[in-house]
């Protein structure tokens, strides 16, 4: 008994102490040093017009956007350390080093101000911006640089100037002897200081002025004077001793801070920061207090709800709180060593009871009935009775992963399937508990929920629906669902999966919520429903679903390091247990106003920095955007989303957490807008977007003028080719035609000459011989004359044939047919064979038949007629000429003995010559020598010029 009592008492006291101390530092966070700083020795602090925090330090100057530092340097720096940052109206930040150089930052680059001749200086300058002028102290006096025109002048002062401060629109400088006043456009005036300054060699002005008051510090004695300017006089309003070396005096809003090595304190004494050795303090838009420390660098006190550790002691001996259950205003805590505690609020931690050591940790606490809590241990299950404060094991050992109670029956998800028992049997001594698993399915079951009358169970091999003693798997897109938890919220079944985020099942259809909708992870470890709110639990964080179950509520929580065991809420208060303790914090909704903006720091095109243009060549199509957003939240990190408009896919793309460089590659020519915006980890947009408009020019070979030129050129080329072709063809046709004409003319000439001269002569001779013959008396002479006459007749006949075939006037089918008929009639005139000519009955088509062809046809027909006349001994011969379609048919038919009759007589029948003639004019010769002889010629008629 005794050890059991001692341990809880010990805890009780320690926890009570912790709670009291936590209440003392009410709701203010601790000062944190920013990790990964370029230097721990920070000299100056500036919040620029965009909202970035700048810190000047031992190793240069750095910009902090809440996530990353960018440190700037210049190769011409003669010493690295920088300080005294001032931003001018155009956004340039001015500063100086400790070796006499003045610098300014423009477009994230550190430039040296050449006009200030640092070679001539022995000491470093102090700078101020007054109106449009930068004023710096110099060995020569005051250096004045016009920020608009870039012109600079020196105003000479005997002994120079070493420190200065801006007072209204004037600048007061001090050279350890005298004070001078500078005002733009006016000559320097020497100021009078009525008192003697004993420490004037150790005194320096601080560039700080509040309501006419400015400050002169004296080190190492650690005192400062409050001064003011009245016309040409400096008035002393008192000296304050701090007792420590004064680092600086700075202004935060309307407060003056005096920073010494020991502590920083406001002049009114209301605020102080100890032990930081600060050099500057300022607040940002969100009220975070930023500090530059000479020993901790950039530090911050965030203006957000702190997370309080309310119990260290529960983690001792390696045990920690595994499970938090809330009821009204009471927390029930189950630990890894099997102890159950109760924390009444506001009140004290109370040890309740323990499960046996062999049962292991308390894994789950679930309300059971009015009097009992169900406590699932690593091994076995217990019930806790409120009244008796006792943990009793269930009558039968069940290791419960999840339980659900329905109709007075308890269903338990176990490593060996689902088991159930009636609630009424809980306290029976020997209850007939169901030992058999439900539906005989003995695979590991993790979670249970009732959807109407169906029991939804998460098994190792998927989610199943159990209804009316039937079991069937629930599929999402035809695949089994590998899940961790099922819970009912209203009429919706929520399924937390291993890698698909959250599935919401309602009325047979699914809805899916993933990291795209703002889930911190697609692996949902658990779903907790706490007083109507639905929480998603991941391995090291959790999120609150909105009431419509479509996305994440806009809360961010300060998560302490280490994995989260469990959490719970009471009202607005969140309790959280990790491996090193129990924490509490207030749930506060961050402001939904967008107070920051995303900036594009740098653009590189094909690997080179882009300078002042947004028109790119066609090959400059690989752009990288380096972006940043001043966003200072201790609880959330930025995730960017970006898109490129004017592309087929202009959906928002999600960057990776921490990604600040974004590439768009292989862009086609066109105009684009690159748009990027910052979101917090709930995917809520927290910044105004940065938009970069740019244009990629089409390459020269896609330029319309070039294309038009190419088209014109092609058209010209084709036109030229066509023209050339036709001109050439025309030329050739002309040549051919000319040739034909020449041949025709020649033929005509020959024919006419033969006709007119030789022909006329021959015929005259013929007639003459006939007359002569007739005159001669009967006898030899007359016979001889007759022979001559016949010979001349034949000759003239032949000649006429020649003339006929030569004369182009006869180049017509009609002429040919008439001629054939005439010649045939003439041939048969004095023969025993009678000739019948069948002439085309209808009109003879107007077809030209050239001399050659005409002659071949005529001679072939003549040959056939001759054959008939000479060899056939026929009585009748029929010459048939007809035109059928586009062919001329001429047949010579006789009733004689035909060609083949006497052997050896075939030499003279001219068959071969007929064939040859037909071949030459692409005609066909057909012959039939059955009872009668038929020779048929077929000549295709092609009309030609």
């Amino acid at each position: 008994m005794q050890p059991d009592l001692r341990i809880p008492l010990y805890f009780l006291f320690t926890v009570l102490f912790c709670l009291v101390t936590a209440a003392g530092t009410a709701q203010e966070r601790e000062i944190e040093s920013i990790p990964n700083q370029p230097s721990p020795e920070a000299y100056d602090l500036l919040k620029d017009s965009k909202g970035y925090i700048w810190v000047a330090h031992e190793f240069g100057i750095s910009r902090y956007d809440g996530a990353n530092f960018i440190t700037l340097q210049n190769p011409r720096q003669n010493s690295i350390s920088l300080t005294d940052m001032i931003e001018d109206k155009t956004g340039r930040i001015w500063c100086h080093n400790f070796s006499g150089q003045i610098f300014y930052i423009e477009n994230l680059q550190l430039h040296l101000l050449e006009a200030y001749k640092h070679q001539d200086e022995q000491d470093f300058p102090r700078i101020a911006i007054c109106g449009d002028e930068l004023i710096a102290t110099s060995k020569k006096g005051l250096f004045v640089y016009n920020l608009l025109t870039g012109k600079s002048t020196y105003h000479f002062i005997k002994y120079g100037a070493s420190t200065l401060t801006q007072v209204g629109n004037k600048v007061v400088c001090f050279n350890n002897y005298d004070f001078y006043c500078y005002e733009a456009g006016k000559p320097l005036t020497k100021l009078t200081f009525g008192e003697y300054l004993p420490d004037h060699f150790a005194a320096s002005l601080q560039n700080v002025c509040l309501k006419d008051t400015f400050y002169l510090i004296v080190n190492p004695r650690g005192k400062y004077y409050k001064l003011s300017l009245k016309q040409d006089r400096i008035l002393n309003h008192g000296v304050i001793k701090t007792g420590a070396f004064i680092n600086t005096i700075s202004k935060q809003n309307e407060k003056i801070w005096v920073h010494t090595k020991e502590h920083s304190v406001t002049i009114d004494g209301k605020e102080q920061i100890k032990g930081m050795n600060l050099s500057d303090v300022l607040t940002d838009n969100l009220g975070n207090l930023w500090m530059s420390s000479l020993k901790k660098g950039l530090s911050v006190r965030y203006n957000t709800q702190p997370i309080k550790k309310i119990s260290d002691s529960l983690s001792i001996d390696g045990q920690n709180i595994r499970r938090i259950h809330t009821e009204d205003s009471t927390l029930f805590l189950g630990t890894s060593s099997g102890m159950l505690y109760k924390l009444d609020l506001p009140g004290s931690l109370q040890y309740l009871s323990s499960i046996p050591k062999e049962a292991g940790a308390i894994e789950r606490i679930t309300p059971f009935d009015k009097n009992h809590l169900f406590v699932a241990a690593s091994v076995g299950s217990y019930t806790y009775h409120y009244q008796t404060n006792t943990l009793k094991p269930l009558p039968v050992s069940i290791t419960a992963k999840d339980i659900v109670i329905r109709d007075e029956k308890v269903y338990v998800a176990t490593p060996f399937g689902i088991k159930f028992f009636p609630l009424a049997h809980l306290n029976d001594k020997n209850p007939p508990l169901a030992q058999r698993p439900l539906f005989e399915k003995t695979t590991r079951c993790r979670s249970l929920a009732f959807l109407n009358d169906s029991l939804i169970a998460v098994y190792n091999d998927g989610v199943f629906i159990l209804h009316n003693n039937k079991i069937k798997p629930l599929f999402y897109q035809q695949n089994p669902i590998y899940a961790t938890t099922v819970r009912m919220v209203g009429s919706k079944l929520l399924i937390g999966t291993y890698n698909q985020g959250l599935l919401i099942y309602e009325k047979g259809s699914f809805q899916k919520i993933t990291d795209k909708e703002g889930l911190a992870s697609n692996f949902i470890k658990d779903i907790k429903i706490i007083s109507g709110s639905t929480w998603l639990v991941y391995t090291n964080r959790f999120q609150l679903l909105n009431p419509s179950l479509t996305g994440i509520e806009n809360y961010t929580f300060p998560f302490p390091g280490g994995g989260i065991n469990d959490f719970n809420t009471i009202g607005n208060q969140l309790y959280l247990s990790t491996s090193d303790g129990l924490y509490a914090t207030q749930m506060t909704r961050p402001s939904s106003a967008i107070s920051t903006k995303t900036y594009i720091d740098n653009i590189t095109v094909n690997g080179n920095s882009l300078v002042a243009t947004n028109t790119l060549n066609y090959f400059q199509n690989h752009l990288q955007f380096q972006v940043s957003t001043p966003y200072f939240s201790p609880n959330s990190k930025i995730v960017y989303q970006y898109r490129l408009t004017n592309t087929p896919n202009n959906e928002w793309q999600q960057g990776a957490p921490g990604q600040t460089a974004f590439n768009v590659v292989a862009l086609e020519p066109g105009t684009y807008d690159f748009e990027i915006v910052a979101t917090d980890e709930n995917r809520k947009i927290i910044s105004q977007p940065a938009i970069y408009h740019f244009e990629i020019m089409a390459p020269w070979y896609q330029h319309w003028a070039f294309n038009a030129f190419v088209i014109l050129w092609l058209v010209g080329l084709i036109g030229g080719a066509v023209w050339f072709y036709f001109a050439n063809r025309l030329r050739r046709q002309r040549q051919v035609y000319k040739k034909q004409l020449a041949i025709q003319a020649e033929r005509q000439r020959i024919s006419e000459e033969i006709h007119d001269d030789i022909g006329a002569g021959l015929l005259a001779m013929r007639l003459q011989t006939e007359i002569t013959k007739n005159k001669l008396p009967e006898g030899e002479a007359r016979q001889e004359m007759g022979k001559i006459h016949t010979a001349i007749s034949e000759l003239s006949h032949k000649m006429r044939e020649v003339i006929w075939s030569l004369n182009t006037d006869n180049d017509r089918l009609e002429n040919l047919l008439f001629y054939i008929r005439r010649q045939a009639v003439g041939l048969f005139e004095n023969s025993p064979t009678s000739l019948k000519v069948v002439f085309p009955s209808h009109e003879i088509p107007d077809v030209n038949i050239h001399g050659e062809k005409r002659r071949h046809i005529y001679l072939a027909v003549k040959e056939a007629l001759h054959n008939c006349l000479k060899h056939s001994q026929a009585h009748n011969c029929t010459l048939t000429m007809r035109i059928d379609g586009s062919a001329l048919y001429i047949s010579v038919a006789d009733d004689g003995r035909g060609f083949a009759a006497p052997q050896g007589e075939h030499t003279g029948n001219g068959l071969s010559s007929m064939k040859k003639r037909m071949q030459q004019i692409e005609g066909v010769l057909e012959m039939e020598t059955q009872e009668r002889t038929v020779v048929q010629f077929m000549v295709p008629l092609t009309e030609s010029v």
């Binding site: 004409l741 006709h755 006329a760 005259a764 007359i771 006429r800 004369n807 107007d846 009309e943």
Partner: protein, 205 residues
């Protein structure tokens, strides 16, 4: 009654042969012999009953002569020519020839022809007669239309549209020379003197 026959024949040999033929027939008497159409104009002053006219003569053609001789209607013109083409036949008959003999006719045929002429006939060599008959086989217009080759018709159609020879030539891928040649042929075939007449005649075909 003996008929007077004059000859118009340039070929001396044939002239002599014809003279012999006429002399061999008692029904006729040789009146005068001319060597050219120009000389034969004399017939207007000294008209014979029958004039045997060759077509192919030096200078003016026999057809022109026949046309001129129509001023003396008592002269019957008999063509005796080597030409046997339609054009000459038609022209000769149209211009007033009453008979048409080919020069390959025999003495007997010439003699008969003269006799026939006296009897009021129209003597013709058989081939000429068959050609003349064939003209009646088809409509005249058609035949004139058919005179033109398809290419000539094309040329004429384009000319009828008002195109210049150059344009016609380009249209049909011919040279201007060729087109001119075609047009000359067309004039010849349609018996016209110029383009306008050719087009008009072509339109009424």
């Amino acid at each position: 009654m003996i008929k007077l026959v004059s000859l118009v024949e340039d070929n001396a040999l044939y002239q002599q042969a014809l003279v012999d033929v006429i002399r061999s027939n008692e029904a006729f008497r040789l009146y005068k012999v001319y060597g050219s159409a120009e000389d034969a104009m004399d017939m207007l002053q000294n008209p014979p009953d029958i004039a045997i006219v060759d077509i192919n003569l030096p200078g003016k053609s026999g057809i022109e002569l026949i046309a001129t001789l129509q001023a003396q209607p008592q002269i019957q013109c008999l063509v005796c020519s080597m030409y046997e083409d339609d054009e000459h036949i038609v022209q000769a008959l149209e211009n007033g020839a009453v008979g048409y003999l080919l020069k390959d006719a025999s003495v007997q045929e010439i003699s008969h022809a003269l006799d026939e002429l006296v009897k009021g006939g129209a003597p013709m060599s058989p081939y000429i007669a068959s050609r003349v008959i064939s003209f009646f086989r088809k409509p005249k217009i058609k035949s004139e239309n058919a005179l033109l080759s398809s290419r000539e018709k094309e040329v004429l159609q384009l000319v009828a549209k008002g195109l210049q020879y150059k344009e016609v030539a380009d249209h049909l891928f011919l040279s201007t020379e060729t087109v001119k040649k075609h047009m000359q042929n067309i004039y010849q075939k349609l018996h016209v003197q110029n383009k306008v007449e050719a087009v008009n005649k072509f339109r009424y075909m």
